[in-house]
Each structure stands twice: as C-alpha cells, then as structure tokens.
Amino acid sequence: MSLIVAQQLFYAWPKAKHGLLLEHFSLEPGERVLLQGVSGSGKSTLLALFSGILKPCSGSLQLAGYELTKSWAAKRDALRAELVGMVHQQLHLLPYLTVADNILLGAYTSAKRLASSRANNQQQLRSLLAALDMAEDLLHRPVHQLSIGQQQRVAIARALIGNPKVILADEPTSSLDPENRDRFMQLLLSNAKQLGAAVILVSHDPQMRQFAFDRQLQLAELVRMVPCSGQN
C-alpha cells in the first residue's frame, strides 16, 4: 500500500484568489523523493498538506490509508505524530531542553513512537547518536552548547526517533555551506534508509540532484496554480 496518495488535491490559501492543485502523487514506503521548485511555488504548503497540518479544501489525500480531507484536526495531529518526522529550514531546537529531550520531543507526541523508541532497551537514542557521529555525553547538555553541525544532527535524530514512516524535509540545508550540506544529506538519507523511512525533501538547490534519491521531480510539473472559482 502506498504511504501517501493524493488525487485532485486542491488547497486555497485563506483570502487568496488562487489555489494549489495536485492532480496525482503517490509515495511508496521507503521511497526517497526530491521535489525541486523555486520559492513561492508551494513547496512548504505541499509538505504542510502531506503532514496534515493544513487541511485540503477538496480532492483526496491519504496518509497510510487514512483520508486526511475528512479528518478532524486532532486526528490529523495524531497521524502526524505517529507517522511523520519533520525537518525544517531552521532547526527549531528548544533552548530550554537538553539534547536528549529535544530528540525525544519527536517521540513524545505518539505512544507508538515512544514505545518504539524504547523498544531496544532504550537504546534508540544512543544508536541514533552513534549513527549520527555524536558523542553520548552530549545528551544531557543544553542545546546552545552544541555547534551548528551538531544541532543539525539533533534535528535529524528528532525526526527519526520512534521509527516514523516518512520524513518530510523543507529546505533543510538552505543555511549550510556545501561541505556541511553534503554531510547532512548523507546522514539523513542513509539513516532514513536504515530505519526504512520514506523521505520527501523539497529544495530549490540544484546541487541536491547529486544525492541518492529514488525519484526527482520538478514541482512545476506536479502542481498547478488555479483560480479558486475554476476549482469549484
């Protein structure tokens, strides 16, 4: 079964005359997809729709078999908590929590993910750190003591903890130099593969094509801007 299936998905921004129409898109489990597009082309909106943060106006959008267009906000929140890990443009680590708690934030919203993160004798936190080349003694430090590179890895660990089904990443490397970007992408993709998580990464950066994606799509080919009246 496909992880994400979108059919004639339409979303109109509040008080806007235009909306975004996605005729068809599907994502298989474990698949890694790069979506490329210039800024303002609706990349972030698309990820917000896939994660259930925004509610589509019409059409069909299924996340792991659940129809998001017909779900309450709280149900969509619960699905996101359980199935989705997100990595953002800015890192958004909470400054008042330790590294360990920042990572565990990703699991605490879902009982399943929390259980999963604790399944291997509470080892996932440590194995994630090891996989991300971080020393274990970092866990109980406040995040502001970490370097930018380390903070990025904390953000990856937060998205991956508790084995979500899909990672949604929105321009995660836009503030990085090429060297750090390459390292970040390599860690993200390899760790997602190891845990069996699918990845959708949206970026405007042409350099992204060099990484190991299963599919690379241009956003312009996928979505169209249509006037609201034309939709209904």
Partner: protein
C-alpha cells in the same frame, strides 16, 4: 508528564519576561487580601474589646462616640457626667454592678483610665473572658498605685514596684507633669488583644486627687485634701444587669432621667450601627480591590498574548511534531496556573510579613490590634475561583495559538 515538565522549563526559560507580570499580579492579590484582612481584623478587634457589659452610660450625645471613647479609646470624651446623677443607676435594684471610667490623662503616650477595683472583676473581653493578672494584684482604692496593661508594661519595660509619673492631659510636656504624685506599679495585666493592653489603670480617687491640686491650671502646694473620697465627675459608667431581659426598659429609664441629660447604649447595638456606617466605605474598598484584581487578571492575559507572539516558533514546532490541541491547551494553561499560584503564594507571605511588621504601628496609630495575617479558608475558596477564572480566560489565547500554529512557514 513530559509536557508538564516542558511547560515548567519553558516558563522558567522566559522568567525575565514573567517577572513584571508576576509582580503586578502579586500586588493586586496583595491589595485584595489586605482589604479583607483589615476589614476582618478591625471588626474582630471591636467585637472582642467589649464583653459582658450590658449598658454604657455617659453624657447625652452620640451613642457611637460614647462607645468609641469609653471602650475603644478612640477620640476624646466631650462631656462628663456628675456622680450624683449616676447614683440612681448604681442603686437601681436590677443593676448587678457598675464600673466608672474616667479618661483624660496620659502616661508617656498611653491613656490613663481612672476606675474602681470592680474593673478587674467585671470587665470582660472576647468571649466572656475575665481579666487576669500576669503579675501583682489590683490597686487599692485611694492608693498611689497603678495597674498596667500588658502592652504598656512591655513597651516601657516596667516591673512591679516601678514608680511612674502621670501627665495631665494627653500631651506629654514637662510643664504639665504631676511630679508630686508618683504612682507605684502594683499589677500588670495579661495580654487581651484589646485597648486594655494600652491602658494605665488607676483608682478614681487617686486620679481625682491629682486633679484637685490643678484646679487653677497650676499646682498649688499644700492644697491636698484628705478625707472620704467621692468622685465628682466620670466619663462613662459601665453597667452589668442582674438579667438582660429588662435591658431596654432600663435603657429607656436612664435616657429619661434628669436633671442632667444622660444616655445609655447597648454596646452590641451600637457596634451594629458602626458596621452600618463602615459598610459603605468597606464596600467601596472591596469594589476597588475586586476591580484591581480584575486588572491583574487582564495583565496575565496580556502577558500571555504577547508571550504567544514570542513563542510562535516554539508552538509551531510543537504542532509540527503532532501536539494535540488539548496538550497545547495544557501547556498554556499550566503557565497561567503557575503565574497565578506563584502570585497568590507571594501575596500571602508578603501580607503575613507586612502585617507582622506593621502591627505595632497600627496599634499605636489607630489603637487597633491587627493580627498577623493567616490565610483563611474563605479567602482560599475565593482565590480558587480567581484561578478558575484565570484558566478560563487563558482558553481564548490558547485556542488562538492553536489556530495560528497551523499557518506558519
């Protein structure tokens, strides 16, 4: 648990911004508590100061005034009554006992009360408790002896056997001291929490004797008169009846007595009059205190709303992680809960401290014993409602925050 911990940590992280809100809220709750504390304790003070006295008789005038100066030592007596006019009351068959009170002199800032030994026998306070001696015994009639209230002895550090000099009038100037009549301290009363603690008790005869020498305003040596003492004038007469059943009848009789115009009041009824007068001021105060409390809650709401702006990223992140609406609500309400609870605790401890510090000042300035503040159950109940209201008010910005966190990036 995790979200509770998170809310606490977030709150602590933003403590610099919370500080002023906490201060404002503490001040408003403090004001609110203080108003009701002063109200309660002044009532308590008035109520406990008089007990077991059925009638107070004095010169005709304001009943409230008579009660205030004769029992609470507030204000000054306007008129005195001749002893002969009171004789029918003292001899009245229904009267069980009488105790005269004469005011007008002071000893180092404390009122001197001329009275009889019956004072220590019949005057009661609080819930029909009799006066007790911490040390010593009553003065003998006509002796150069005084009995001190507990506060007088403590503050002036007097012991039994000390000799003190009474001042003529209420202002202590060296010119008007009755130097020639030193009095010996023969008794110190136990603390009562009433104006008796601030009084110096002396026999009517002794008081009259020192005044006798001052007839022309200056001391005339050798004019002392010996012989059987009869007080000429008194400020008030405390009356105890055989049975309280006929108290109104006797009151009417006294009010009609002649030739000197007399007045008898029932302490309880006159106190009720006082409450009625005070209730307008009390209500005004308490309305203001409630309004201020409302403003304090608005301050919390304002703080929370601006706080939400600065916390937009934080809340948005929590949403992307899949935080449910009620979890978000809990995090935001916990913040209000913390602020309000902290402010309440602070206000209560501050008021306890302040009331302890200002106790002496209130006693000296207003002759009112203000007990140290202890939280009352009724106040805690009201504060619980304030808390509920605050949480209810939080709902609105919290729901707005949830809505807003859907639209970011």
């Amino acid at each position: 648990m995790f979200w509770t911990k998170l809310a606490f940590k977030s709150f602590y992280f933003r403590r610099r911004q919370q500080w002023l809100t906490l201060l404002a809220l503490t001040a408003t709750i403090l004001l609110w508590l203080a108003v009701s504390h002063v109200k309660d304790s002044s009532r308590e003070h008035f109520v406990r100061s008089i007990s077991g006295v059925d009638l107070v008789v004095g010169a005709r005038g304001g009943g409230l005034n008579l009660l205030l100066y004769s029992v609470f030592r507030i204000g000054n007596p306007t008129n005195e009554v001749h002893w002969q006019s009171l004789q029918p009351i003292i001899d009245h068959p229904r009267v069980s006992w009488t105790v005269p009170i004469q005011l007008g002199d002071s000893y180092r800032g404390f009122r001197v009360v001329g009275t009889s030994t019956g004072f220590f026998e019949h005057i009661q306070y609080a819930n029909r408790q009799s006066l007790r001696f911490a040390q010593g015994q009553p003065f003998v009639e006509d002796g150069d002896q005084v009995v001190l209230g507990a506060e007088v002895a403590r503050r002036l550090n007097h012991q039994l056997g000390d000799r003190i000099i009474i001042t003529h009038g209420l202002v202590d100037t060296s010119l008007s001291r009755h130097d020639e009549n030193p009095f010996e301290v023969v008794g110190i009363l136990e603390r009562t929490g009433t104006p008796i603690d601030q009084s110096v008790h002396i026999s009517m005869a002794a008081l009259d004797r020192i005044h006798h020498n001052w007839q022309t305003g200056t001391y005339v040596p050798g004019s002392d008169v010996l012989g059987r003492f009869q007080p000429r004038q008194v400020t008030a007469l405390m009356v105890g009846l055989e049975s309280r059943l006929r108290v109104f009848e006797l009151q009417r009789q006294i009010n009609r007595m002649g030739p000197e115009p007399l007045m008898a009041i029932l302490p309880g009824a006159t106190l009720a009059e006082l409450w009625q007068m005070m209730s307008i001021a009390e209500q005004a105060l308490s309305v203001i205190a409630h309004l201020v409390l409302g403003l304090g809650l608005l301050a919390v709401l304002a703080q929370l709303s601006t706080g939400l702006e600065t916390r937009r990223q934080e809340l948005w992140l929590l949403r992307t992680l899949g935080l449910r609406p009620w979890q978000m609500l809990w995090i935001l309400m916990l913040e209000t809960l913390l602020l309000v609870l902290l402010a309440m605790l602070l206000a209560m401890s501050l008021l306890s401290m302040l009331s302890w510090l200002l106790q002496d000042w209130a006693l000296l300035r207003f002759s009112i014993l203000m007990p140290v503040y202890v939280p009352l159950l009724s106040q805690l109940q009201q504060l619980a409602w304030v808390l509920v209201l605050a949480l209810f008010l939080t709902l609105w910005p919290a729901l707005r925050a949830y809505k807003q966190s859907q639209q970011y990036g």
